[in-house]
């Protein structure tokens, strides 16, 4: 399945999807020293975002988010790329500051089409996401 959206930040990435159904904030939710979700109330608590492709509806929360993203990137603990339904200013700043490929405004709802564990190939320059379902015979 192929999804087409808007380039938020350029670049290419391949990897396993991890889906957050609620809006995401780097500050308070990602531990930059491990890449794991550190908020106990979060649905993905304890899971690592490192080298995954994070899919979420949008951003939320404190202005400190880009700093956490920057530290995670320097420590090698950032997601490889991100896919959102619609970007919001603080999450956009985090993505640009950490400089990872990202796409939003896809032609289909990414939260409906992508599940945790699916394999994604992203070309953010073109705004294209190839979704290979985890139960698909292709992998």
């Amino acid at each position: 399945m192929k999804l087409i959206g808007r380039t938020v930040n350029r670049g290419k990435a391949k990897g396993e999807a991890i889906v957050s159904r609620i809006p995401f904030s780097f500050l308070g939710e990602l531990d930059p020293s491990t890449g794991k979700i550190c908020s106990p109330s979060h649905e993905l608590f304890g899971q690592s975002l490192k080298d995954k492709i994070l899919v979420c509806p949008t951003g939320k929360g404190s202005s400190g988010g880009p700093n956490v993203a920057y530290l995670a990137k320097k420590g090698g603990n950032m997601p490889r790329a991100m896919i959102m339904k619609e970007i919001e200013p603080v999450l956009a700043a985090a993505i640009l500051t950490a400089d990872i490929p990202a796409i939003d405004r896809l032609d289909q709802d990414p939260l409906e089409c992508i599940e945790t564990g699916d394999y994604l190939e992203m070309d953010a320059d073109q705004g294209i996401v190839e979704v290979i379902k985890k139960n698909s015979p292709q992998i």
């Binding site: 400190g64 988010g65 530290l71 603080v90 700043a93 500051t97």
Partner: protein, 419 residues
């Protein structure tokens, strides 16, 4: 995005790699939100939790910031060690470094660039008062909502990295709340006659704001029916909870906000959802902010946002000659400059003699005592924003009482909350 010749030079690298990177970040950021051009920035107010390496990278080759820059409330490890003998390893939410050397290294870099070490969430309390239509790049949502709503300045949704880039370049993309068309109210709140507005305390105003934020969510709001001579101290307690119970940073107070002399002006010809705020809504807001079940209080926090000199005078007159209960801490959140003035006034001596503790520069309700091993079971405060923070940042371990300063001081003296 259309850039001026000077902005093109910044992006082209003529002024060095730091300005180039900063301008690159801002142009990409602005393009995502349909900004057509950049605007000059009147004031930057930044949280100092930007990584030191990031500060170095984005300012490489730059002598001075191109905007007037101040710094947000901060946890100063040295002050805590010297004054309270406290070394804190972990702070909730990672809002500040606890490493003294790192803190000093970063502040030395920022000060060299021209950042003032104001360390406050309320720049207005130390005389940094924006004019109507000034462009602000401010982190800290209470400063944003008060600047937009009380002063009519223009403060958008900011992040620490875009704030720093704005400091370095003196520019920010024209988007969001910086544009007039995005500032009109999307929710109109009419204050019901059942509310005895003339006898409203600062806590009543805070409860009203807490209620409105919850309804508004991310929308701009307008409030009709408040006295046009509302004091600044009441106004800021009304506004500061709006971004925490909701995500509202623009709330027209009709007859007070410079761009909302009338309801029509606040709405800009639109017909948004309209609701009434009545006595019941205030009571419900109080219930949410009062979730403690036993009367015993372990901490009283006054000063969220940081106190103005007027507030400290009021606190002094309530507590002078009395004594804080041995079983609790009375914590007062204040900036260094206001503390110095309060000292000159004799206020700090009176408050400290009574057993109060000033936690200079720190976000009052997120003071490190909150994050000690045993934490704080019950805290009382006159700040709706503060009660909300304490309930959540303690992950539910701290329960709160909420009422006006008089009630809070009474609780501090008796060690108990009394209705």
């Amino acid at each position: 995005m259309k850039l001026t010749e000077d902005e093109k030079r910044m992006l082209g690298g003529e002024y060095g790699p730091g300005i180039q990177k900063s301008m690159d970040l801002l142009t990409k950021w602005g393009s995502l939100f349909d900004a057509e051009r950049m605007v000059k920035v009147n004031s930057v107010h930044m949280s100092t939790n930007a990584a030191t390496e990031f500060v170095m990278e984005m300012s490489e080759g730059t002598e001075k910031a191109r905007a007037f820059c101040t710094t947000h409330a901060v946890y100063d490890p040295k002050l805590w060690k010297d004054k309270f003998g406290l070394v804190v390893e972990e702070l909730a939410g990672g809002y500040a470094t606890t490493d003294q050397e790192e803190f000093e290294r970063r502040m030395a870099l920022l000060k060299k660039l021209g950042f003032l070490p104001t360390f406050t969430c309320s720049p207005y309390s130390i005389g940094i008062i924006p004019r109507a239509n000034d462009v602000l790049c401010w982190t800290g949502s209470s400063g944003q909502v008060i600047s937009n709503s009380f002063f009519g300045a223009r403060a958008g949704r900011e992040s620490v990295s875009t704030c720093f880039a704005a400091a370095i370049t003196g520019r920010t993309p024209l988007m969001g709340l910086l544009k007039k068309e995005n500032r009109y109210a999307e929710l109109l709140v009419k204050v019901d006659k059942s509310i005895d507005i003339n006898n409203f305390t600062e806590a009543d105003y805070g409860a009203l704001g807490y209620f409105i934020g919850g309804i508004a969510g991310p929308r701009n709001a307008a409030i009709e029916g408040l006295p046009s001579d509302i004091t600044f101290d009441n106004g800021r307690m009304l506004l500061s909870p709006l971004p925490v119970s909701g995500a509202c940073v623009m709330c027209h107070i009709v007859g007070v906000t410079p761009e909302a002399r009338t309801v029509e002006e606040a709405l800009g010809g639109r017909k948004p959802e309209s609701i009434m705020a009545g006595e019941r809504d205030i009571v419900e807001a109080y219930q949410k902010l009062n979730n403690a079940t036993t009367n015993e209080v372990n901490m009283v926090v006054i000063g969220c946002p940081h106190l103005t000199i007027g507030d400290i005078g009021e606190l002094t007159s309530l507590i002078e000659g009395k004594m804080v209960s041995q079983n609790l801490r009375l914590v007062v959140g204040v900036s260094n400059p206001v503390y110095t003035l309060a000292k000159e006034c004799g206020y700090t001596k009176a408050i400290e003699m009574a057993g109060g503790m000033f936690v200079n520069s720190c976000i009052g309700p997120l003071n490190p005592f909150m994050f000690l091993k045993n934490g704080v079971k019950v805290a009382a405060t006159n700040s709706a924003r503060g009660a909300h923070y304490m309930q959540r940042m303690s992950q539910g371990k701290t329960k709160t009482f909420y009422g006006d300063m008089r009630k809070c001081v009474q609780a501090a003296i008796k060690g108990k909350w009394e209705e």
